[in-house]
């Protein structure tokens, strides 16, 4: 359970969310992304293929992360959202704010 970070094709930073993204661990994800930005990484993919659920704090953290990456001139993509997770983004209209791909492979190819 937690976040794992790796390098995808083309030097893209891939972060996998294993478990939940909720109020208890959202800061960890924000810190991880901030550290990547400080290392000069600008293309990030967050994958939710192994994610159980996200709460509103987790969604809020993603909005905050998205703003930071945009301000740094970078690009963020999301992938691996199942139907239930995707419904959270649609209910909060966040599906209009994020670039979302079905699979991490499709997302990596879309940068």
């Amino acid at each position: 359970m937690g976040f794992s970070e790796s390098k995808g094709t083309g030097g893209i930073t891939l972060v996998e969310v294993d478990g939940q993204l909720i109020i208890g661990n959202r800061q960890e994800l924000k810190d991880l992304v901030q550290a990547a930005l400080e290392r000069g990484e600008r293309r990030l993919l967050i994958d939710f293929s192994k994610t159980g659920y996200i709460d509103s704090s987790g969604l809020g953290a993603l909005v905050s992360i998205s703003k930071r990456i945009r301000e740094a001139g970078g690009e963020l993509r999301l992938s691996g959202l199942n139907e239930d997770l995707r419904s959270l983004f649609e209910l909060t209209k966040l599906d209009t704010l994020f670039a979302i791909n079905e699979t991490p492979e499709q997302a990596l190819a879309s940068f």
Binding site: G19, I23, S57, G60, V63, T92
Partner: protein, 153 residues
């Protein structure tokens, strides 16, 4: 380490309001306990029950939101205060009560987040999500106890 959660499951034909199973859990006002509390309650509520993945998912999300609100807004993260979760399983619906020891609030006074960009800071986002994911939401008069009802199908 012993879990600080106090957990109880009762299965009986003589429970009030037609419930066949009653699950109760008491947890301290510590956000670090939320995930374990959600898993415990969800697992015991839906064990052997007919429930779709979507119901399971929604139950976990709204439990997490309501407990989080109770700890942060209700009990102001005061570790001497408790949050009580009570779930009644009746044939058609799941009724979830989450109660804190705070002074209560007026749910009508909580604004809805008006744009997705505000979701990182707006108050009321958890309540907004709860209202969207369950079939009915009620509060007690004091405003320190929420009742969320989910239809099983």
């Amino acid at each position: 380490m012993t879990s600080p959660l106090r957990f109880c499951v009762r299965r009986s034909s003589a429970l009030e309001r037609g419930a066949t199973t009653l699950v109760t859990l008491r947890l301290p006002s510590d956000v670090g306990c939320i995930e374990e509390a959600v898993e415990l309650v969800t697992r015991h509520c839906l064990a052997g029950q007919h429930a779709t993945e979507t119901i399971r998912f929604r139950l976990r999300v709204v439990l997490s939101e309501a407990i989080s609100n109770a700890i942060i807004r209700g009990n102001a993260e005061d570790h001497t205060k408790w949050v009580d979760v009570r779930v009644e399983l009746v044939p058609e619906v799941i009724r979830v009560y989450v109660t804190d020891e705070g002074p209560g609030f007026d749910p009508a006074a909580i604004p809805e987040p008006i744009s997705p960009e505000q979701l990182d800071e707006a108050r009321g986002r958890g309540l907004y999500l709860i209202r969207k994911l369950v079939d009915a939401v009620h509060f007690n008069e004091q405003g320190n106890s929420i009742c969320m009802t989910l239809r099983r199908s």
